[in-house]
């Protein structure tokens, strides 16, 4: 059963306003940028994103005013490319809610979704204002420890809980995928396996899509089994201008063009430059313009 579809259809079918999304990769590596740009084109609103360390993905959605809440440990470009200024301005203007996590508490909150429990205990989060200011952290007493009752002098162990985050959709840009969704990621996987299990639905955008049975790899090399996947979208260069291990590195000029945008027009024009490439493959083995075949 082929799950292939075009990028437009995937965004139409699997994203609605207000959804909680989570994306593959980390910082400027293997973010599913073509999908994020299609969110912009389709003007999906009030989105939430959960990710340990976000950069261009979140910054772009903030630039277009499509973001409601960011659940993350870190939102910034790395050193050379500076801060995520659209995100920053949106938070400072009160348009976007920044739910700051330690990166690990995002991981734990997603583990809660994987296990379908409402919270996850976290050992390390013990001090500071994040515990005070955020209602998604809570400190409880360890119910298995009874020493306090037995020995009133002792203090009962306290345990921090983080509230589970259940993403509506995980979007993962993979290197290779068959038409049923069996996906292979080369090199660093970051939190991709976790999010593929945590989200209610999964869309794979892939550099290469092959027919069923043509992955030519052993079972152990398939990182995401097809039965977890709802849609497969063939988008070569789908992470650009972010990097994709073994395929391309960060596209310095393209990224700088974005970082130097000054107006909504600049932003629209930046997204527009990718439109043809992002949307060039549709499902059923034909492309929209007749130029490339699947």
């Amino acid at each position: 059963m082929s799950k292939r579809m075009g990028l437009e259809e995937a965004v139409q079918s699997f994203v609605k306003d207000g959804d909680v999304l989570t994306f593959s990769g980390n910082a400027l590596h293997r973010a599913p940028m073509a999908f994020v740009r299609e969110l912009v084109r389709q003007n999906k609103q009030q989105l939430q994103v959960a990710k340990t360390a976000a950069a261009l993905d979140v910054d772009l959605l903030c630039a277009f005013g499509l973001m409601d809440t960011v659940h993350a440990g870190f939102v910034s470009y790395e050193t050379k490319y500076g801060l995520a200024s659209y995100y920053r301005k949106a938070v400072e203007a009160g348009q976007v809610k920044a739910n700051e996590h330690a990166c690990y508490t995002v991981i734990c909150a997603l583990r809660g979704a994987v296990m379908n429990v409402p919270f996850m205990p976290v050992h390390g989060l013990k001090y500071g204002d994040l515990l005070v200011e955020n209602d998604y952290f809570m400190v409880v007493e360890n119910p298995f420890e009874e020493s306090a009752e037995e020995n009133p002098g002792d203090e009962v162990e306290r345990v921090t809980l983080v509230k589970t985050i259940r993403p509506d959709l995980a979007v993962i840009h993979a290197h290779m995928c068959d038409e049923e969704g069996n996906a292979i990621i080369h090199g660093a996987q970051y939190e991709d396996i976790l999010i593929s299990r945590a989200a209610k639905r999964v869309v794979i955008t892939a550099e290469t899509v092959v027919k069923k049975g043509k992955l030519n790899s052993g079972a152990e090399k398939v990182d995401i089994p097809g039965f977890l996947v709802d849609a497969v979208v063939h988008v070569p260069n789908g992470a650009k201008p972010c990097s994709c291990e073994g395929k391309y590195d960060v596209q310095d000029m393209e990224l700088r063009t974005f970082l130097e945008t000054k107006s909504m027009e600049d932003l629209r024009s930046w997204v527009k430059t990718y439109e043809k490439a992002d949307r060039s493959f549709i499902g059923k083995g034909r492309n929209s313009g007749g130029v490339r075949s699947w």
Binding site: G73, R88, A98, H101, A102, I107, G124, Q189
Partner: protein, 250 residues
């Protein structure tokens, strides 16, 4: 007031401040320790490679892409979280697993950032102004809030040393406590008895200059100078980091 923001040059022609900071950090690392760095952490990443070449061959280098002991930084450019770190690694160990390791008390050293630090050892990487209506929204503490309380030794490095960075009271406590060292372009702070203490100053500065650039009153037992990079250190440093990524943050 001399601002050390962005100042990568020392008065010495043999080495730059980034070289000195890298060497000072490398010397803090011991053989066999498990050591983690995150994003935007080129200087500690190079310091780990330097330590491995010099006195800590069995140091375990852990990072975000999950490459355990990458053998080379030759392919590393703008990112300290890129897939290149896994390419030449000896095994893989994901970010989630690194955090779990620290929770279990088995991470020896964590390198962490931050924007503001106060005399009581509070770290701010979150906001200037109120958390919910920030004047400035900072990138966030990344792993700090769970790693500083759990890593055996938390080392903070900061390439700026000024009165906005080292303050009497931080705007927001992203995390606190259990800092081990803070390494700056001017000095090394230690954290003892609930406060930052001046452990050593670099050879390119004076106590007066450090005080002038610090927003709280310095306390120290006695003044010690960090040792300038040796010829051997500089030789190895140029070899492990030929592209000088250690200076990217300056």
């Amino acid at each position: 007031m001399v601002m050390y923001e962005g100042n990568v040059h020392s008065t010495n022609k043999e080495w730059q401040i980034s070289d000195l900071m890298t060497c000072v950090i490398a010397r803090l690392l011991k053989d066999r320790e498990t050591v983690f760095h995150g994003v935007s952490s080129h200087l500690p990443m190079v310091a780990m490679q330097l330590a491995k070449q010099l006195h800590a061959p069995n140091l375990v280098h852990l990072n975000i892409p999950g490459g355990v002991n990458p053998t080379s930084l030759r392919e590393t450019t703008y990112s300290s979280a890129g897939p290149d770190l896994l390419r030449s690694a000896e095994s893989s160990f994901s970010l989630a697993e690194v955090f779990d390791l620290s929770m279990r008390g088995k991470l020896d050293v964590a390198f962490l950032g931050g924007i503001q630090f106060d005399v009581k050892g509070n770290v701010n990487a979150s906001t200037i102004g109120p958390y919910k209506k920030p004047k400035v929204r900072l990138p966030g503490g990344a792993g700090s809030a769970v790693l500083i309380p759990t890593a055996k030794k938390a080392i903070i490095w900061r390439t700026k040393h000024d009165r906005r960075t080292f303050v009497e009271d931080v705007d927001f406590v992203t995390t606190r406590g259990n800092l081990w060292k803070i390494v700056t372009p001017l000095c090394v702070f230690g954290y003892r008895d609930g406060r930052l203490m001046l452990d050593a100053i670099h050879p390119n500065t004076t106590v007066e200059e450090v005080q002038e650039n610090t927003g709280f009153k310095l306390q120290y037992d006695h003044i010690e100078y960090t040792k300038a990079p040796t010829r051997e250190e500089m030789g190895v440093l140029r070899r492990v980091d030929p592209k000088n990524v250690r200076s990217l943050e300056f």
